[in-house]
C-alpha cells in the first residue's frame, strides 16, 4: 500500500509529500512530490538593478541566506574585474562561518526531533542561540542580514565587537565536547542511526551528491578549498567519512562546527586594518561562480546588460541531495519510522529547490525561470 507522509508533519519544517510504498511495516520504494513553494524569483530579477536583486537573492532561502548574497556579490565583482579589499574578505569569512555553525546545529536538531530524543533536541537549540547572538552583534539582525554589497561589506566592526563575539562563542566551546559525546557514545542512539540509510561512494557519484552528504560517503570535495581567500590566508582541509549512514552525516556536521569555530579564531586574530568597501561600476558581461553553502555547492550564472541584470540562473544543492535520497537511501531502510529520520538527516531545504509547477487539473506546465 502507499503511505503518504504529507505536507504538514511534526518533523518537517517545509511542505513536501513523501509517498512510501510499504508491505506491512517494511518500506520497498519511495517517491517524492515537490511543487509547493515555487515563487518565480529568477523571473522577477530580470531587468532590475543589483540593489534590488541582492534583496531578492537573500530571500531564496532563509536558513542559508548569507551564502547566496556572497556568491551573488562575488559573481558581479568578477564580471567587473575587481576584488574586495582584504579587511572585507576577512569579515566575510567570519560571517560565513558563523552562518554555517547555526545552520548545522539547526539541521541536527531537526534530526533529533524526528527520532524523538528531546534532551539532545533542546540542548542543541540552546547552543545555537549563542551563535545567533554573535551574528546579531556583528551585522545587526539574526536572519536576512543584508551584509554584502558589491565591492565589500556594509559596516565596519570595531575591536570591542570582535571581543564580544569571541566571548559569545566561548559559551559554545565550553559545552560542546560533552554534548558531542552524548551522541557519539550513547548505545541506544547508536542503534537507531548506524547502518540506516546507507549510500555508497559510487551511488553518491551517480546521484551527484554534494556538501556534507557527499563527504560522509567518501567524496572528498569542498568548494572552500580553491576559493582565493581560504587558499591564500587560512589553513583548511575538508572533513570526510567513509560509511555513508545517518550517523556519519550527523557526526560530519558536528566536526565541521568545530572546524568553523577554529577558523573564526584564526580570522579574528589576524584581521588587517584598511577600508571595507570600494566603489564599483557595473558593466556588461557573463560569469558563472560557485561557493560552498552549508548544504553543498551553490552556483550562480549571471549575464548583465549595462547596469541591469539580463538573465540569471541559480542552482542550489538541495535538488541533487533530495534526488539521491529518493533513489538510493530510501531503498535501504527497514521501517517507516526510519524513512522519516533518513529524510531529515539529508538536511533538505525546499525553498531553494523549486523549479517548475505542473497544474494537475489542467496539465499546464509553468516554468518561470529561464536561461
Amino acid at each position: 500500500m502507499i503511505l503518504p507522509i504529507g505536507p504538514i508533519h511534526p518533523g518537517l519544517k517545509e511542505p513536501l509529500r513523501l509517498k512510501l510504498k510499504t508491505e506491512g511495516e517494511r518500506v520497498i520504494d519511495a517517491e517524492i512530490d515537490y511543487g509547493y513553494v515555487h515563487r518565480g524569483i529568477e523571473k522577477i530579477m530580470e531587468g532590475k538593478t543589483w540593489q534590488k536583486a541582492i534583496y531578492l537573492a537573500e530571500r531564496v532561502c532563509g536558513i542559508c541566506s548569507y551564502e547566496h548574497t556572497q556568491t551573488f556579490a562575488e559573481t558581479i565583482e568578477k564580471i567587473c574585474g575587481v576584488q574586495a579589499p582584504l579587511r572585507a574578505q576577512y569579515l566575510r569569512v567570519i560571517t560565513n562561518e558563523l552562518d554555517r555553525v547555526q545552520s548545522h546545529l539547526l539541521a541536527n536538531s531537526t534530526f533529533f526531533k524526528t527520532m524523538d530524543h528531546e534532551t539532545l533536541y533542546m540542548d542543541v537549540l540552546r547552543l545555537r542561540e549563542y551563535a545567533m547572538d554573535a551574528i546579531e552583534l556583528l551585522t545587526g539582525n539574526r536572519v536576512n542580514m543584508g551584509w554584502n554589497v558589491i565591492g565589500g561589506v556594509r559596516m565596519d566592526a570595531k575591536q570591542e565587537h570582535l571581543d564580544a563575539i569571541l566571548e559569545r562563542i566561548s559559551h559554545i566551546e565550553k559545552d560542546f565536547e560533552i554534548h558531542k559525546r552524548l551522541f557519539e557514545e550513547g548505545p541506544l542512539v547508536g542503534l537507531r542511526c548506524k547502518d540506516v540509510g546507507v549510500m555508497t561512494r559510487e551511488e553518491a557519484i551517480k546521484g551527484r551528491a554534494v556538501g556534507p552528504i557527499g563527504r560522509a560517503s567518501g567524496l572528498k570535495h569542498d568548494y572552500r578549498e580553491p576559493h582565493p581567500t581560504y587558499h591564500d590566508y587560512f589553513d583548511f582541509k575538508p572533513i570526510w567519512r567513509k560509511e555513508g549512514d545517518n550517523f556519519a552525516r550527523t557526526m560530519n556536521r558536528y566536526d565541521e562546527v568545530t572546524q568553523s569555530l577554529d577558523l573564526i579564531h584564526q580570522a579574528i586574530d589576524n584581521i588587517p586594518e584598511g577600508d571595507i568597501r570600494i566603489p564599483v561600476e557595473v558593466v556588461s558581461g557573463y560569469k558563472d561562480w560557485r561557493n560552498e553553502a552549508p548544504r553543498g555547492e551553490v552556483a550562480y550564472m549571471i549575464e548583465t546588460n549595462g547596469n541591469l541584470i539580463k538573465h540569471i540562473s541559480i542552482r542550489t544543492p538541495s535538488i541533487m541531495n533530495i534526488d539521491s535520497c529518493e533513489n538510493f537511501m530510501l531503498k535501504r531502510v527497514a521501517t517507516v519510522a526510519d524513512a522519516v529520520t533518513t529524510y531529515a538527516s539529508v538536511d533538505p531545504c525546499l525553498a531553494c529547490a523549486e523549479r517548475v509547477v505542473v497544474d494537475v487539473n489542467t496539465g499546464k506546465t509553468t516554468v518561470n525561470d529561464l536561461f
Binding site: R39, I44, C349
Partner: protein, 151 residues
C-alpha cells in the same frame, strides 16, 4: 457552569499547528527558536503539535502559492471549533517582494481564510511573535467559545 469550566481550560492549554504556504523559511526558523529553551513557548501552556485535526490555532507563514489555493480552505474546514488563524511575517499580508510581475503568489491570504491577528516583519523577532500570541490567543479563544455556545 460547565461552560465556565471549559473556558478555563480553553484559555490555558492551547494546541498549535504550523502551516507553511510557500515562504522562504525565515519565519519558520524563528518559530523553531521560539520553542527553544531561551524563549520557551511551553511554559505558557502552548504546545506545538502540528496536527490540524487537533489544533486550536494555526500559525500561517509564507505567501500563498498556486498549489495551496484550494488546500488552504480544506485545512481550515478540518479544524474543530473554536479556531483561530494568526499570520506571521510580511508574506501572508501582502506578498512582500514576490507580489510583482513574474511572481506566482496570490496574496493576501485573507482572500482564502479569515485571519484574526498579524505580526509584521521580515522575519519578526521571536519575542515579538511570543507577545502577539499571548496577547491574542487566550482572550480570543474565550470570545469565540462564548459566541458559539450562545447559538
Amino acid at each position: 457552569m460547565l461552560n465556565n469550566l471549559k473556558n478555563i481550560f480553553r484559555k490555558t492549554s492551547i494546541h498549535v499547528c504550523i502551516v507553511n504556504c510557500g515562504g522562504c523559511n525565515g519565519c519558520d526558523v524563528e518559530l523553531v527558536a521560539v520553542t527553544s529553551p531561551r524563549y520557551d513557548l511551553e511554559q505558557y501552556g502552548i504546545y506545538l503539535q502540528n496536527n490540524p485535526r487537533e489544533a486550536d490555532i494555526i500559525l500561517l507563514t509564507g505567501a500563498v502559492t498556486d498549489h495551496w489555493k484550494d488546500n488552504l480552505r480544506r485545512i481550515y474546514t478540518k479544524m474543530p471549533e473554536p479556531k483561530l488563524v494568526v499570520a506571521i511575517g510580511n508574506c501572508p499580508q501582502s506578498g512582500d517582494v514576490f507580489n510583482q510581475e513574474g511572481g506566482t503568489v496570490n496574496a493576501p491570504a485573507s482572500d482564502f481564510i479569515p485571519i484574526a491577528a498579524e505580526v509584521p516583519g521580515c522575519p519578526p523577532r521571536p519575542n515579538e511573535i511570543l507577545e502577539a500570541i499571548l496577547a491574542v490567543a487566550p482572550g480570543a479563544m474565550e470570545a469565540r467559545a462564548n459566541e458559539k455556545d450562545d447559538e
